[in-house]
């Protein structure tokens, strides 16, 4: 049975360790040293801005405001900026809001997309082709072009400044339907037929045969949807005005100008906001890289 289980159609980015050197080639050939030097340079350039932010967050406000290139301020390292940010408490609330709303958005998006994708892959109904074309065509519609009528709709439904108003418009992701349909198409139909002969209903087959087989792809798209929801700015920024309902990206925006020149605090806040996803990335690097690569391609 495991042989029949389809695998992700995209290459597994993390398993392959890259093209290794030719047998017999010295690990210190000039070309390899040159490539290594180039790689180190680029990695340093890419890490520096973040290191800078971290370094500033650990300075006193006076040291932070004096500028310069030194990573450690004259008064040494201090966690003052972090403690004053955490004492204000809003960051916790925003992070919590971001976390659970992203989780709900991810769950609803993947659930409704998987059900629809299964219908498009396996079931027969009138207008199937046209409906699918319409959904795929909607990928070209930029969400930013819909903010005005969507906001108007939320006003009419009384959902402005509510969690549902924040979450619901984010659950329609046509590329996810497309990716999952492609995956379901590759699942051998015999597996389902066997269950159907035993008298299982469509829904039963979907939950007990199809979904378990699709765990890798469901994981991949969930990661992608979660990252998108976690980082989404424009819609949450428009729909939420209440400080206690804000997500992390929106909350941070409100204090950029409020804090003005307290650079250490601003950086401490940026670092704190970045921390959750960095930690998650360190633990789930393999799955995240695979999820993003698969979904990024699948949108095509």
């Amino acid at each position: 049975m495991s042989a029949a289980v389809p695998t992700l159609t995209q290459p597994d980015v993390t398993v392959s360790r890259g093209r290794s050197r030719k047998p017999g080639e010295s690990p210190y050939s000039p070309a390899r040293i040159l490539a290594f030097a180039a790689l180190v340079t680029m990695a340093v350039i890419w890490l520096l801005p973040f290191l800078w932010a971290v370094a500033t967050a650990f300075k006193t406000e006076t040291d932070a405001a004096s500028g310069g290139l030194s990573l450690i301020g004259e008064s040494g390292i201090t966690t003052e900026a972090f403690s004053s940010i955490l004492a204000q408490g809003n960051v916790y609330i925003w992070a919590l809001n971001s976390f659970w709303t992203s989780l709900v958005i991810t769950f609803i998006t993947v659930a409704i997309s998987a059900l629809a994708a299964y219908a498009f892959s396996r079931l027969d109904f009138t207008g199937k082709k046209w409906l699918f074309v319409a959904i795929i065509a909607s990928i070209i519609v930029p969400p930013q072009a819909l903010i005005i009528p969507l906001y108007y709709q939320m006003l009419a439904l009384n959902l402005v400044d509510t969690y549902w108003g924040l979450m619901l418009p984010q659950v329609v992701m046509a590329p996810i339907v497309f990716i999952l349909k492609k995956f379901f198409d590759a699942v051998p139909i015999e597996l389902e037929d066997a269950a159907r002969v035993d008298g299982a209903s469509r829904l039963r087959v979907f939950f007990s045969v199809v979904l378990p087989l699709s765990r890798p792809i469901l994981g991949a798209v969930s990661i992608f949807v979660f990252i998108q929801a976690w980082n989404n700015f424009l819609w949450p920024f428009l729909i939420i005005n209440d400080t206690f309902l804000m997500t992390l990206p929106v909350g941070l925006q409100t204090v950029i100008s409020a804090y003005g020149i307290q650079y250490a605090q601003v950086m401490a806040q940026a670092v704190l906001a970045a921390l959750p996803l960095i930690v998650v990335f360190l633990f789930f690097q393999r799955q995240i890289v695979k999820g993003v690569a698969t979904t990024g391609f699948g949108g095509q």
């Binding site: 790689l39 801005p49 500028g67 409704i112 109904f125 819909l146 941070l252 601003v266």
Partner: protein
């Protein structure tokens, strides 16, 4: 693709051979049942799709033909007045120009850097997880975090960027406060932020090239550069098409970091079209006018999208 069980019962009894009516009735009933089941699966997505995509898309057309205000006032039909106003609005045109300029100057480095990074990482040098972390991690951060970090770096008095310039003996620059320089500064931050996504797409494509091709080339005596130009780069053609299309569409939607790094304000050389939609609708309260600009923006996306498809597919046919 079809519901096999329903098909079997529908096809098996041929009504022309068997005069009995009963099987036909069962067949149509089975088909009805099949339709109902299918719609059961589709319903949740379709309800959300119609509510949050189709309805706003249609309602937006109506709004764009009215003088609706965010405050609830107005709403009368004004014909195409909003569109003619937008087409003669210099701010709309500069924001389209800014958007196209940003798309050009961001797409080129975002594709080239990603390619170079992926080629280097794919040589199999030690420290794979560290390279992936460095190049991809910024992509995981929220736009607000990126903006705060880069506003700090670009700070004209105490920012790191000017400290670096002074160190090498150059004049400091007011990065975000100088017209034309502001959009370039935003581009630098954007390249740092999102190059990791393209990098991953390239890396996946590179690892998909069969080893066999390289082995065959080695037998024929091909060197490192020969292999790069005759095997690797041609094989990356299809993924480059994908990366470029995705990148151009993403760059055209610029808003978050431009709005945030200009501290909620805007300049004539940095304001992208999405920000003008936002300003017209939520700062100026003119929902009708903002809807019209939304449709002009939508048209821009479609035109650029079609343009790209035509050019890139023609190029692929030629090669």
């Amino acid at each position: 693709m079809t519901d096999t069980a329903a098909d079997r019962s529908a096809v098996a009894p041929d009504p022309q051979v068997v005069p009995d009516e009963r099987p036909v009735v069962t067949a149509s009933r089975a088909r009805m049942r099949g339709q109902l089941i299918a719609w059961g699966f589709l319903a949740p997505f379709m309800v959300a799709f119609i509510m949050f995509v189709i309805w706003p898309l249609v309602h937006g057309v109506w709004l764009s033909l009215t003088d609706q205000s965010l405050t609830g006032a107005g709403g009368g039909f004004v014909g195409t007045a909003n569109y003619s106003e937008a087409l003669s609005d210099p701010v709309m045109w500069t924001s389209i120009r800014n958007t196209l300029w940003f798309t050009l100057i961001s797409t080129v480095p975002l594709v080239l850097f990603a390619l170079v990074m992926a080629l280097l990482v794919n040589t199999g040098l030690p420290g794979q997880w560290l390279w992936r972390l460095s190049f991809f991690m910024p992509f995981l951060l929220a736009s607000t975090v990126i903006s705060q970090i880069w506003m700090w770096i670009f700070n004209p008095e105490i920012g790191a960027a000017n400290a670096l310039l002074e160190r090498v003996g150059l004049e400091p620059i007011a990065w975000l406060q100088t017209p034309h320089m502001d959009i370039i500064s935003i581009t630098i931050a954007t390249v740092w932020w999102t190059v990791g996504f393209n990098f991953l797409l390239y890396l996946a494509a590179l690892q998909n090239i069969p080893d066999l091709q390289y082995e065959a080339a080695e037998v024929d005596g091909a060197g490192r550069w020969r292999k790069l130009f005759s095997i690797t780069l041609p094989q990356l053609g299809p993924v480059t098409v994908v990366v470029v299309i995705l990148q151009v569409l993403a760059s055209l939607k610029l808003f978050d970091q431009a709005y945030q790094m200009m501290d909620g304000g805007s300049s004539e050389t940095s304001r992208p079209i999405v920000q003008y939609i936002f300003e017209a609708g939520f700062v100026g309260y003119r929902f009708g006018y903002a809807s019209a600009i939304s449709y002009i923006f939508f048209a821009l996306i479609v035109i650029v999208g079609i343009f790209q498809m035509v050019i890139l597919s023609r190029r692929r046919e030629n090669s």
